[in-house]
């Protein structure tokens, strides 16, 4: 291993001090002169025709500066890629929580009072909450004009509520099933769950004296938001500026324009800056939670445990709109087939419109749904064949040179090593008490690609400022940039300060997501630091008249070759007569040939009288490259596992008559510390990674396999399987009773 001074060290978060002291500014903290509060009136019906909206009393309320209805934004549609979301509903509302009218007023109280004065007359219509119903040929169409929408990947031959389909696979399914000794078909369901970030969606929009649209938003992809908004409202991108702000948690959910287009219209009509902050009831009922899914897996296997065929269909309930996902579909669905050598496969993922809250991205979009189904299914096959699930996986996992079920080929494949490391740490195979069981599951994920820029500027006081258009949504990308710059310039991390750029400063940045932050940002920071270093050496050589090709930067000094002759670098910065800086733009969108495996093992005890699951131990093994910061890395593992535990055991936005019924954190359960068992982490070191330090991603892999590992542990403990998340005590008890019939 290469030895580093700052890389790999447990450096304190560069944003930590500001955050714990309350100095960090979030969008909701921003105060602009004359700023108004925006509020929204939302539909109580899952599906209804809007007969009449009477805003006259709200308009007349003192302190109200704008009241808008669908007439004021008619025809505008927006989204991340598929533009199907209206800022305000026009003829119909398609889900309970949809925006019907909006107000901008001098205080939040006045805005709320104005909202209460708006009268809407609805004609309630039948609603479809179930995607299976919505797929039927005789179902009414939520979006009859879907073929006219901007961003629809492929025109539909016949317009239906199924608006996008993706497939993966190889070989011939019929051949694979014909070879099989056993064929197993099962269906799995996963619920609607919320990302549960601390900061709700918030934004401020201000049209300034120069008619520039100034925006601050809890959105981790500001350049994409600029494109999306410009296209939706028909202005040049140059007119829009996204200003940097801290983002209070994301977990995938902070990439949508959400209320920004609507607040733009409020700012336009009121001629004032307008701030809008969702409350958490609005978050639960009308943001962009993780898609519910219904997945059917059919597999073929030989008596000796060799998989021959794998067919899976994932139906994602998109909710009323498809605009909150950048790929229109969720690519993680393909992971239902996993890192296994299966010759004949076919995976299909479809998105279906229903009258419910629109789905968005959440930590490994599509993967937790797919992996719950796929890894539950694998375990059941192993148990039917009487093969230990560990042996069964080891037999079928890819090794060097093997192609995965959906056709990916990786190098330096550590799948088996990772699973074996997890098994060792979990003491898999050691005796267990009555009604206690162990279960495992695997995931794999390569970091995504993208584009970003970094600037490194030497300061006269001997410190360095690093500029980046990335908005750190809590995962520690600023600390990554800090460490890379400090490492390459031979500085300690406290000498590097991160100052984000707004969207005017550089041409583009993909934004945080897909575990790309570390991959893309570390390369850009590395290149910028190298460029800055060359500039520094050039300046030093000019001051001293040294040969620039033979200078060494070390301990805040520039040395002449290997001699003791040096010049302090702050002296260079102060005396060279120009700014010493380096910039870089990195565009790395390559499909990677390295991936990162994750193997997790849960140990559970089941109370067979109540069905309650107690998680006793959890082991998470990860195939890693160079870990840039062990604190941040472990934090991603801990947080991902906890989020996975919530998904496995308790989280679900319950929908009754089309309305989300558990709209507070009292009723929407997420794990507390008391629910978290002992966590064992194992890192399997790989020499292969991406970029100058050989890194891999860690942000998403940690939460995708947890639920399947727990479901498999439950079956190991008590011999029954639960096919739907969350695995509540009531479902376990029902499964136990069914097995005893």
């Amino acid at each position: 291993m290469i030895s580093y001074n700052v890389i790999g060290q447990p450096i304190v978060r560069s944003d930590g001090f500001e955050k714990v002291t309350g100095r960090a500014q979030y969008t909701g903290d921003l105060k602009l002169p004359g700023m108004l509060w925006g509020k929204v009136l939302r539909s109580p019906f899952a599906h209804a025709r809007i007969i009449r909206v009477d805003t006259s009393r709200a308009v007349g309320l003192p302190g109200v500066h704008a009241v808008l209805t669908g007439d004021d934004t008619r025809g505008v549609r927006y989204g991340r890629r598929l533009f199907d979301v209206p800022p305000l509903a026009e003829e119909r509302v398609l889900f309970a929580g949809e925006r019907v009218a909006a107000v901008a007023a001098e205080s939040m109280e006045i805005a709320q009072n104005a909202i209460d004065l708006i009268e809407v007359e609805y004609d309630p219509l039948p609603a479809i909450a179930d995607p299976l119903e919505s797929m039927k040929g005789d179902a009414f169409l939520l979006h009859p004009d879907v073929n006219d929408y901007v961003g629809l990947p492929k025109k539909l031959e016949k317009v239906s509520n199924v608006f996008v389909t993706n497939t993966w696979g190889k070989g011939e399914l019929d051949t694979g099933f014909a070879q099989a000794d056993h064929i197993l078909e099962r269906t799995y369901t996963t619920p609607l769950v919320h990302q549960a970030y601390l900061e709700p969606h918030s934004c401020v929009v201000f049209i300034d004296e120069d008619q520039r649209i100034q925006i601050w938003a809890a959105n981790k992809a500001p350049f994409a938001l600029r494109q999306q908004l410009a296209a939706a409202i028909g202005v040049d991108e140059d007119r829009i500026r996204l200003n940097p702000t801290y983002i209070g948690g994301d977990f995938g959910g902070k990439g949508s324009p959400m209320d920004v287009p609507l607040v733009y219209f409020l700012a336009l009509h009121s001629k004032r800056p307008v701030r809008m902050v969702m409350d958490y009831v609005e978050e639960f009922t009308a943001a962009n939670p993780r898609h519910p899914s219904v997945t059917t897996v059919r597999s073929g296997v030989l008596n000796d445990g060799t998989l021959t065929a794998w067919e899976a269909r994932i139906i994602f309930n998109s909710g009323a709109y498809g605009g909150f996902k950048p790929g229109v579909n969720l690519g993680g669905a393909r992971d239902v087939a996993g890192p296994y050598k299966i010759p004949h496969t076919f995976v299909e993922a479809i998105q279906v419109y229903t009258n419910s809250v629109p789905g968005g991205h959440m930590r490994g979009p599509g993967e937790p749904q797919g992996i719950f189904a796929g890894e539950s299914h694998l375990d059941e096959i192993a148990r039917i064949l009487g093969i230990d699930p560990l042996e069964f996986r080891l037999k079928n996992l890819v090794g060097e040179g093997d192609v995965t079920a959906t056709g990916s080929l990786y190098r330096d494949v550590k799948a088996k090593e990772t699973l074996e490391a997890a098994s060792m740490a979990a003491r898999y195979g050691s005796p267990l008490a009555m009604n206690v069981g162990r279960g495992m599951a695997m995931g794999a994920r390569a970091p995504g690609g993208g584009e970003t820029h970094v600037g490194v500027i030497f300061q006269k006081d001997g410190t360095v400022v690093a500029r980046t258009p990335i908005l750190d949504q809590g995962t520690g990308t600023y600390t990554t940039v800090n460490q890379v710059v400090a490492e390459e310039l031979g500085l300690s991390s406290d000498k590097v300060q991160i100052i984000p750029w707004n969207t005017d400063a550089v041409s583009f940045d993909t934004g945080i997501g897909g575990s790309r932050g570390t991959r893309v940002a570390s390369q850009a920071a590395y290149a910028a630091a190298q460029n800055a270093k060359q500039e520094l050496l050039r300046a030093a050589s000019e001051i001293r008249g040294w040969d620039p090709s033979n200078l060494v930067l070390k301990d805040n000094k520039v040395y002449k070759g290997n001699t003791e002759d040096y010049i302090d670098f702050d002296f260079v910065v102060q005396n060279c007569g120009f700014d010493i800086q380096g910039t870089s733009g990195i565009e790395d969108r390559e499909q990677l040939t390295v991936t990162a495996f994750c193997a997790q093992i849960a140990e559970v005890a089941v109370d067979v009288e109540t069905g309650q699951i107690k998680l006793l131990r959890f082991t998470s093994a990860h195939d890693v490259g160079q870990v840039l910061n062990p604190i941040g890395h472990q934090g991603q593992i801990n947080g991902g596992v906890v989020q996975g535990i919530g998904y496995a055991l308790m989280e679900e936005l319950e929908v009754e008559d089309g309305r989300v019924s558990n709209v507070t954190f009292g009723d929407y359960k997420i794990p507390t510390m008391a629910d978290i068992p002992e966590l064992r982490t194992v890192l399997v070191q790989s020499k292969n990674g991406v970029g100058p330090y050989n890194i891999k991603g860690i942000g998403e892999n940690t939460n995708t396999a947890v639920a399947a590992a727990i479901a498999n542990a439950v079956e190991d403990a008590i011999g029954v399987r639960v096919y739907s998340l969350p695995i509540t005590a009531e479902k376990v008890l029902a499964a136990l009773r069914e097995s005893n019939v």
Partner: protein, 291 residues
Amino acid sequence: MKPFEYVKPNTLAEAISALDAGGEDARALSGGTDLIVQMRAGRNVVGNVIDVKGVTETNVISHSKKDGLTIGSSVPCYRIYNDEGIKKTYAGLVDSVSIIGGTGIQGRASLGGNLCNAAPSGDGIQSLIILGAVANVEGPNGARQIATEDFCTAPGQNALNPGELLVSLSVPEPESNAGAHYLRFIPRNEMDIAVVGVGASVVLDAEKKSIVSARISLASVAPTPLFVEAAGDALKGTEIASDSVEKAAIFAQEAARPIDDMRGTADYRLHLVGVLTKRALKVAIERAENQ
């Protein structure tokens, strides 16, 4: 939150007079962990908030063999479960006040408030009922006592008349060879609302072989906390080694009238009533045996 009047009286007389003046529109405030949340969510519109935390009588904890335990209605949970005398003598009360909310909530939330809020799921209420506690109430027309099992009249509704204040709770000194326990079922391990809760208390005979008397109370299976006299009576005079605990559990299930809601189905709740009643009784009997 809608605007409201706030007063903080210093004496019991002032508190009652303020409550009386406020009439139907007035509510007493102690910890506020229910009231303020309800007012902010618009579920409880209150015009006059009378903060009774400044009243001496609502802050008392007193304990003697002769008079039993008196707990002022504003006493927060943490003071109850940190009190050495209560821990020793009233374990069945500590069971519930130590699981209401989380640590932060327990620093504010009062047992009196838990009773007045009259939620069917109120953990503290079950302990009061099984321990035979009485609510001491004062109002413009004088003082009266209400048995805690009669205090809650409907979800969120209690037996207090306008102008009346719950001043304190009196819990009798347990008889010798007595034990009590409260437990609940929740989907996670803390900070949650009972899907079902069961409180049980027993008094054993001198030989600790038979049950002299028993009381059982159920949470979250009826519009109010549910005192199941029949289940207790079924245990009277039976030997602890017999199947009487199973019989009591069946009585408890027969009395329960659960509904389906987001926390669980009625069927599952009925099942839990049976399981938890047996578990609560088992611990109550063990505690009595160890007296």
